[in-house]
């Protein structure tokens, strides 16, 4: 009888198409928006993913990675003096204006690496070598910088120069980085040269990157850092988590995307629930006939449940597939952000299953109340 139930569903093409398209749209809306939301959250942690370090040391008031309160130079020594620290290096990071060859300006994220170890170096070099940062006035730019320059008609390549605070910066390498929430390109140079590019200030150190000694966990080093006055330590994972939580708590992003996801759920419930109600209502006479012929209520309920969930399954599959296609298309461009961890399809699947339960419940309620004798009326 379950095969009969599916045939009844599939051959009622108009309602089936309506049901599937409703659930597909609902799934697509939720998956795509959740994917973009996760992508934005990933953007907020781009610095953490572009600059790899097991332990980050910042000012005690810092709550997330994109918030910089400068440290004193001596703080590097303070971290190095901790018993659990194998080594610690300074990292400069600031947003500055770069003057391009055509005279226009572009904000960049200037990142100054320790010149001896290049700790925090870009993970993927597309052209050139990180070691070339030891050359005079040299910088490494990322692919975002190239895109922005190309949009301005500037054919940037190794050897191209631009200015930071009237100081020459010559491109010696091109790297690939994760795009950041702020959208400015990453420009890497050495720590000392970054200080030269910037107007002198009393405190210019943004982060201290530290490595625990063998057999010492990053969490233990963080505990030791937190015991120092004025400093706060994060291991990579906790900094990542705290950054995302900060954006969730302090920006309207979750509300904005949550509203769209909620609308997806409402649209799904409205379309699927209403159409499925019409489908069951339209078949009520035949279901009553089946009941008269000896199909018990549990069997009819099973048929209705199967119809609801098979529709949900198809709609979910199409919706997630379309969301994946969207993601695949935009990942090449880099914008809008898109990241679909496994939790997104699972969450959407659970929501679709609940919508199917709701739709089925409407049908089941009608079937359960159905009197077989109505077929004679």
């Amino acid at each position: 009888m379950f095969r009969i139930a599916l045939l009844m569903l599939f051959r009622d093409r108009a309602k089936y198409a309506m049901l599937v398209s409703g659930l597909t749209f609902c799934t697509l809306l939720m998956s795509q928006q959740a994917g973009v939301f996760c992508g934005i959250m990933m953007w907020t942690t781009a610095t953490l993913r572009n600059i790899s370090s097991p332990v980050w040391v910042v000012d005690a008031k810092v709550q997330q990675v994109n918030e910089v309160i400068s440290l004193r130079d001596i703080d590097v020594q303070r971290v190095r003096s901790l018993p659990g620290v194998a080594w610690a290096v300074p990292l400069f990071w600031s947003i500055v204006q770069a003057r391009l060859p055509d005279g226009s300006f572009q904000a960049i994220q200037l990142t100054g690496l320790d010149s001896s170890s290049f700790t925090g170096r870009p993970a993927v070099m597309l052209e050139g070598r990180v070691e070339d940062l030891r050359l005079p006035n040299s910088v490494i730019v990322d692919q975002v910088a190239l895109e922005k320059l190309q949009r301005k008609g500037i054919d940037a390549r190794i050897g191209t120069t631009f200015e930071i605070n009237d100081e020459e910066a010559r491109i010696v390498g091109i790297c690939h980085t994760e795009r950041s929430f702020l959208g400015q390109p990453y420009v890497y140079t050495t720590y000392e040269r970054a200080l030269q590019y910037m107007p002198a200030q009393r405190k210019m150190l943004a982060y201290v990157l530290a490595e625990p000694k063998p057999n010492i966990s990053p969490q233990e080093v963080v505990r030791q850092v937190n015991a120092l006055p004025g400093l706060r330590g994060f291991d990579h994972d906790s900094f990542f988590r705290e950054t995302m939580i900060w954006y969730i708590k302090n920006t309207g992003i979750p509300v904005s995307f949550g509203t769209v996801v909620l609308m997806g759920i409402i649209v799904g419930i409205a379309i699927a629930g209403q159409t499925f109600y019409l489908f069951v209502h339209g078949n009520l006479r035949y279901l009553a006939a089946l009941k008269a012929m000896g199909a018990g209520t549990p069997k009819l309920v099973g048929m209705v449940m199967l119809q609801a969930f098979s529709t949900g399954f198809v709609g979910y599959g199409l919706g997630v597939g379309l969301a994946a296609l969207f993601g695949n298309a935009v990942l090449g461009n880099g914008t809008p952000p898109f990241y679909m961890p496994w939790q997104v399809p699972v969450f959407v699947g659970v929501v679709i299953a609940l919508i199917c339960c709701f739709s089925a419940a409407i049908g089941v309620a009608k079937v359960a109340r159905l009197e077989a004798a109505v077929v004679f009326k």
């Binding site: 006479r285 012929m293 004679f376």
Partner: protein, 249 residues
């Protein structure tokens, strides 16, 4: 065929719809017997309780008091689940509007009672094809109800009612939606089914043109059985209640 044994026995059956001042007593103590091999027609004016009686006989409606026995088993006190399974095995239905599922082919519609009695899908489809051939619908197995005439749809409905070899066939106005020729064809099939198999066929009808197909006619009025006679006696005693007899075997 054993025409002496009662297939259906109704004793003092009472059924009331609604409560209080709105209560309508549809059956007021009906006593009735239908035998194996018999085609019993229940006739009477609208609202006399024919359909209610049909519903309680097949167990789709519960009686308020009295008993219904089918093939020696009292169904009026049978638990719902047991009654549903009993109905699936023993009762075939033919409805006034056919009630063929429009999104299923003739073959699929006919196969439903076999599926309900546990047959595999393939076996049920095969049996359905055989049944359709027996009613002259070979070649129309894959047609949908909307692609068939009213007469053809009723033959599909008859096939569906007979495919699982039920001992009781319940027919509610089987010719009401058919023209005279299609109605006679349908009644021929039902008559043949009642005569040649060990079963009882009960037909509720307004259509006086088919009275002469009955072995016995029960006339109801105001929730009670008024008359129960063999068809020839009924037609003799009620000459104005039917048209000219049909020429049938």
């Amino acid at each position: 065929m054993n025409t002496s044994e009662p297939a259906v026995v109704c004793r003092d059956v009472v059924k009331t719809y609604g409560k209080g001042e709105m209560a309508v007593r549809a059956l007021k103590g009906v006593n009735l017997e239908a035998r194996f091999g018999e085609l019993l027609m229940i006739v009477g004016p609208s609202g006399c309780g024919k359909t209610t009686l049909l519903s309680v006989i097949c167990g789709t409606l519960r009686v308020d008091s009295g008993t219904i026995e089918l093939f020696g088993q009292t169904i009026s006190s049978m638990p719902e689940r047991e009654l549903t399974a009993f109905r699936a095995r023993n009762v075939g239905f033919i409805f006034q509007q056919f009630n063929l599922v429009p999104t299923l082919t003739a073959r699929e519609n006919v196969s439903i009672p076999r599926l309900l009695t546990g047959a595999s899908y393939a076996a049920a489809q095969q049996d359905a094809g055989t049944m359709l051939a027996q009613v002259g619908l070979a070649g129309r197995e894959e047609s949908f109800p909307s692609q068939m005439s009213g007469g053809q749809q009723q033959r599909v409905a008859i096939s569906r009612a007979m495919i699982h070899q039920p001992r009781l066939v319940i027919c509610d106005e089987p010719t009401a939606s058919l023209d005279a020729a299609a109605g006679r064809r349908a009644m021929d099939l039902l008559r043949e089914s009642a005569r040649h198999q060990d079963r009882c066929v009960i037909v509720v009808t307004h259509d006086s043109r088919i009275f002469d197909y009955a072995d016995r006619i029960v006339e109801m009025d105001d929730g009670l059985v008024n008359v129960s006679q063999t068809a020839p006696d009924y037609l003799r005693d009620h000459p104005y209640s039917h048209s000219q007899p049909k020429n049938h075997a």
